[in-house]
């Protein structure tokens, strides 16, 4: 994976739940990633799906992704081109789903406070650094298991590798 992620920021608040990231009514009727992307954040920010660009980064408050275990709340953002998530904290199943789909999820309350909506920022996963207009913020390195899954591009390819398939 790319060691340094660069992108434009979409900033949101606290406690954004999976129902507004990807509505439950679509969970058994929409399976195509590009169609999922069209409904990303539909009930939170109706402008997002039309204006998001590949590489964009979501920066959010505490408890991002609370609620349902639906993995589409991660895959719709990935399909929309989102390259990373930074939050004050993540709901636990959401965090696992993000990592398991190869989408870096970084916890950094200080960086979230400092970063402004729309600015361009950089994330250096290896160095554990977020670089934004307000300065550089460090985050604790991700656990080895988690990094291994991200490097493989997600849990499915990681498991294939471990099982010696492909």
């Amino acid at each position: 994976m790319t060691e340094v992620i660069k992108g434009r920021v979409w900033k949101y608040g606290d406690d954004v739940n999976t129902d507004v990231i990807f509505p439950g009514k679509y969970t058994y009727t929409i399976n195509d990633p590009s169609e999922m992307a069209q409904h990303a954040l539909e009930d939170l920010d109706p402008e997002f799906a039309g204006k998001v660009r590949p590489g964009d980064i979501i920066v959010a408050g505490k408890n991002w992704g609370n609620g349902s275990s639906r993995e589409q709340a991660v895959t719709c953002l990935k399909a929309a081109g989102v390259s990373a998530l930074i939050a004050k904290s993540f709901a636990r199943i959401y965090f696992r789903n993000a990592i398991n789909n190869g989408l870096p999820a970084i916890t950094s309350p200080d960086a979230v406070e400092a970063i402004e909506d729309g600015e361009e920022i950089e994330i250096d996963l290896e160095a554990g650094e977020i670089r934004c207009k307000a300065g550089t913020f460090n985050f604790p390195p991700l656990p080895e298991t988690v990094l291994g899954i991200l490097e493989a591009g997600g849990l499915i390819p990681y498991t294939r590798k471990r099982l010696g398939i492909g």
Partner: protein, 417 residues
């Protein structure tokens, strides 16, 4: 130093002498639960490149999220699941109409004290009512469990909640849960294991306890646990599918957070739109107009819940212009409610009774609201758009309060009917 329930059960399942919070362990689940998302999981499973499910005897699939199928696409999803069940020889498959997966898992004696349950649903902590360690995971993770029989978990810190005294008459475990969530907020137990202790918990029926473990997902918890006691063992008599050994926390276990509540001080609570932790005593929202009332779900669709609603509705009518929808959480509950006469009471009152499943809880069918309408529900979530349109409002409460509100056409304390 002693260990919490979570530390003891995860050490056992990881094959280690002891574990500490923060440690990442690889565990073998006793049960792997899925529902309508099993078709998507099978797609991911095939991507891994393994032909056969490694532990078919530990897989449980219950169709509940959209049953009976409301559209051709939903029906196709169910068809794929029935096919995979056949292909992979999964014995513990429960087709449409059996009930909501969490309720069915417990009724079928498939989640037992001291066991590890992984479920591809966020309300999997429900099974902690039996003294199991039960936690929600994603679809990709379930695909890996199907392929390998194993998964990584982070050993959680533990929150101990002790509830002393007794709940007053007309106050239920739902009210207790909403009070605790209102105090601790939606991330109060983020990543944590929650243990419920105290005389007020021991005094609750298994059905009422299940509401507590189920809804801890709304406080961010990884799992929730109620120590198995004589009620648990009596419930499992004739149900348990396997031998089991209960696990209890050590007396000197170390807790990250310890809370105490006095049950006698709890009053009926209502969660306001659009968050579960936005809960207040009913007096603060009494009088709010409602268009629809819904009694059901894995949170409050059990016999005791229907009995409470029937007591309120006996000899009364649903207010003109209000729809009341009742969905028993399982076929077992449905049959018992039929026998007890509750269903007749509901029909006499003007309610609609639908077949067991999740119903309108996440906006699929069987009573979704129109834009601008207000629903009062016994479910566990009231997020914006949850029931289909973001232009509607959902209030959450106990079955007593929901039934009373259906009669009044506004949110009302049952004693004020």
């Amino acid at each position: 130093m002693g260990h919490t329930f979570a530390e003891k059960v995860l050490a056992l399942k990881a094959g280690l002498n002891e574990v500490t919070p923060g440690q990442i362990v690889e565990v073998e689940p006793d049960v792997a639960l899925s529902h309508d998302n099993a078709a998507a999981i099978y797609g991911l499973f095939k991507k891994i490149g393994v032909d056969r499910i490694r532990i078919p005897e530990r897989i449980v699939i219950v169709l509940d999220h959209a049953v009976p199928a409301p559209s051709t696409r939903h029906a196709e999803n169910h068809r794929i699941i029935r096919q995979l069940v056949k292909e992979q020889g999964i014995g513990n498959f429960f087709d449409a109409g059996r009930g909501v997966c969490h309720q069915v898992l417990v009724e079928e004696g498939l989640a037992l004290p001291g066991e590890l349950v992984l479920g591809s649903d966020s309300h999997t902590p429900h099974a902690g009512v039996m003294g199991a360690f039960a936690t929600g995971i994603g679809r990709s993770e379930m695909a890996v469990v199907w392929a390998t029989g194993r998964l990584w978990l982070r050993v959680p810190e533990t929150m101990r909640i002790t509830v002393n005294g007794r709940l007053p008459d007309g106050v239920t475990s739902k009210d207790l849960a909403l009070k605790v969530i209102a105090d601790q907020r939606s991330d109060g137990a983020l990543y944590m294991s929650v243990e419920w202790h105290g005389e007020a918990i021991r005094a609750l029926s298994i059905e009422a306890r299940a509401t507590l473990t189920n809804i801890m997902a709304e406080m961010g918890a990884k799992n929730a646990y109620i120590p198995p006691d004589e009620r648990t063992l009596a419930y499992l008599e004739g149900r348990a599918r396997r031998e089991f050994t209960p696990i209890y926390p050590d007396e000197d276990a170390e807790y990250a957070v310890e809370l105490e509540y006095d049950a006698g001080g709890i009053e009926p609570m209502v969660s306001r739109p659009h968050a579960v932790d936005n809960a207040v005593p009913i007096s603060e929202v009494a009088g709010t107009h409602v268009d629809q009332a819904f009694i059901g779900t894995c949170t409050n669709g059990r016999l005791e819940d229907l009995a409470a609603a029937a007591r309120v509705l006996e000899g009364r009518k649903v207010a003109p212009g209000v729809r009341l929808i009742v969905i028993p959480a399982s076929r077992e509950v449905y049959k018992a409610a039929l026998k007890a006469g509750y269903l007749e009471t509901f029909v006499e009152a003007g309610a609609m009774i639908e077949s067991p499943g999740c119903g309108p809880c996440m906006g699929n069918h069987m009573g979704v609201p129109a834009e601008g309408e207000v629903t009062i529900s016994t479910a566990n979530r009231n997020f914006r758009g949850r029931m289909g349109t973001k232009e509607s409002e959902i209030y959450l409460a106990s079955p007593l309060v929901v039934a009373a509100s259906a009669v009044a056409g506004r949110i009302v304390h049952p004693r004020d009917l």
